[in-house]
């Protein structure tokens, strides 16, 4: 095993429509916040991992080149890592392995997106192949809807019950976002608002789906030995996992979703977690879409297959439930996509170090963070804890 690795600082921009600043300025805002949080200077950094979802979103290729100045890391290695929507988790994983390998002591990890500069759904279709799928591409909501339909059919989930549970998830995420000063969408909504919102892709409605946001997130990783010196309360990386299905959507069973299930299992095994529902104190699940959040609960072993709506309706995953999920308001309220997965990790780290402000889950010691990418193809999980 490699060296133990901890998160010693995080920084986020205010997420939302940030048309008043240029992309490099947005990145710098998150990086400056992370330096301030960690109490270190840019000189203390040995290397950088940086990434967006795709370059096509903003029409600028290999952004580590144009952001070298904004990251304040000229003369250092800047590795660009990307895996679609799961980019944020993949960035964190690279930061972890870099430090664990012993080749660097302190690594700055930055995820960023200015989704409102491009056309997000048109960009998503450029993930599909030109031979077979591009013609029928339905954007992200279309993919998520197909998966939800398959899941309901497979487990004979009552459509009305799923609808009620999904609406409750939306309401509780929106409520949570009101406690998060960085969140994009901050408004109080009701179950009826969700159920009466405009249909996007049947049965999915507007309030079931995340927004497009501009935003960036920076997380600083440090090796054991250095981490405790630099930071009074580091968040230790306890486990991580990443898996990908086949490229062609139709080749794997998305209702049981092997990549999500195995990625979580890999992380649990490394962290020594056997019963995640009781052992975890908080989870930051990547939830661009309400129905999909329920599939994640099942894949992550938080409830039996097909029973997520029942658990949701009992309040298992609300802020005062057995396992609070997305006290930050989640992806559903904030989605600068290349940063989103890293925001999940940053929020998990804030929770286990007691720094989450109004969104703090009391006494949280062990937290799961997650992101998903591709046309339902990739899942990445990172677990952080307050104890080494």
């Amino acid at each position: 095993m490699g060296r133990a690795v901890a998160i010693i600082g995080t920084g986020q921009t205010k997420h939302g429509n940030r048309r008043e600043v240029s992309y490099p300025e947005l990145v710098r805002e998150a990086v400056m916040a992370a330096f301030e949080d960690a109490g270190i200077t840019p000189r203390d950094i040995d290397g950088v991992v940086s990434g967006t979802m795709p370059s096509m979103m903003e029409g600028i290729s290999l952004t580590h080149l144009s952001f070298a100045d904004a990251l304040c890391q000229v003369g250092k290695p800047i590795l660009k890592v990307e895996t679609c929507g799961s980019t944020g988790q993949s960035l964190g994983h690279c930061g972890y392995y870099w430090v664990a390998s012993g080749m660097a002591d302190v690594v700055l990890v930055v995820g960023h997106e200015k989704m409102l500069e491009g056309d997000s759904q048109a960009t998503m279709t450029t993930v599909t192949d030109p031979f077979f799928h591009k013609t029928f591409a339905a954007g992200a909501p279309g993919v998520f809807t197909m998966q939800a339909m398959e899941w309901m059919y497979r487990f004979k989930v009552d459509e009305e019950k799923a609808r009620d549970a999904a609406a409750l998830i939306s309401v509780s995420n929106h409520d949570n976002a009101l406690d998060n000063p960085y969140a994009h969408i901050r408004m109080r909504i009701t179950v009826d608002d969700v159920k009466n919102a405009k249909i996007i892709t049947y049965p999915v409605r507007l309030l079931d789906v995340c927004p497009n946001s501009d935003g960036a997130c920076a997380v600083i990783f440090a090796a054991r030995g250095k981490a405790e010196k630099l930071c009074r309360k580091p968040a230790w990386i306890k486990g991580l996992g990443f898996r990908g299905d086949e490229f062609f959507y139709g080749e794997s069973d998305k209702s049981v979703w092997a990549s999500a299930t195995s990625a979580a299992k890999e992380a649990y095994d490394m962290a020594g977690i056997k019963d995640p529902l009781t052992e975890l104190d908080v989870a930051e699940i990547y939830n661009p879409f309400t129905y999909q959040e329920m599939i994640f609960y099942e894949c992550f072993g938080l409830c039996p297959r097909g029973e997520a709506p029942d658990y949701v309706l009992k309040g298992t995953f609300t802020k005062d439930g057995v396992l609070p999920c997305d006290p930050s308001g989640g992806t559903l309220c904030t989605n600068p996509i290349g940063a989103t997965g890293l925001i999940r990790l940053a929020e998990a780290a804030l929770q286990v170090t007691g720094k989450a402000g109004d969104r703090q889950v009391e006494g949280a010691k062990l937290a799961l963070s997650h992101a998903m990418g591709g046309t339902d193809q990739f899942n990445g999980v990172t677990i952080v804890g307050s104890e080494l």
Partner: protein, 154 residues
């Protein structure tokens, strides 16, 4: 299809709205008024052009604005003679790094107002160290093209 084996065209086209931010908005507004703005770093005292929100070396905000004159020296230049998809200008044309008087970096722009029909003719007018001055476009759109090109000053 241009190839002897089977291919498909896959054209990727997308629309963008790129944010200039306050500093570059002001820089381009300056061009519209025929003024080139740089910013000065109060830490390292360098003047950079185009204006920057922060100093790339010191990472500090660059809040002091400096008006730059339209004259400078050619640091390097090239006659672009090849064609590629999406090229900004019909070749041949001259691109150059120009160190404007009173600045501490080079600005990249075109050199014009000279005969570019042969490399020899360009060499007669342009060398490393040649003095050049800005030539403004009559029609301005608050973009980098408000500067039409730089031309020999002598």
């Amino acid at each position: 299809m241009s190839k002897e084996y089977r291919t498909m065209n896959n054209d990727v086209a997308l629309p963008y709205r790129w944010s200039l931010g306050p500093v570059w908005t002001r820089f381009f507004d300056g061009l519209k008024e025929e003024t080139i703005y740089g910013t000065k770093c109060l830490k390292c005292n360098r003047v950079l052009v185009p204006a920057r929100p922060f100093c790339p070396a010191c990472y500090a905000e660059m809040e002091e604005w400096v008006e730059i004159g339209g004259q400078g020296t050619v640091q390097s230049w090239t006659v672009v003679n090849n064609s590629y998809y999406g090229q900004v200008k019909e070749p041949p044309y001259v691109m150059a790094l120009i160190r404007l008087d009173g600045t501490d970096c080079a600005l990249c722009h075109f050199i014009g107002g000279i005969d570019v029909s042969s490399i020899e003719k360009v060499r007669e007018r342009i060398q490393v160290g040649t003095r050049v001055k800005v030539k403004w476009n009559a029609e301005k759109k608050a973009s980098i093209y408000d500067i039409a090109y730089f031309e020999p000053a002598g």
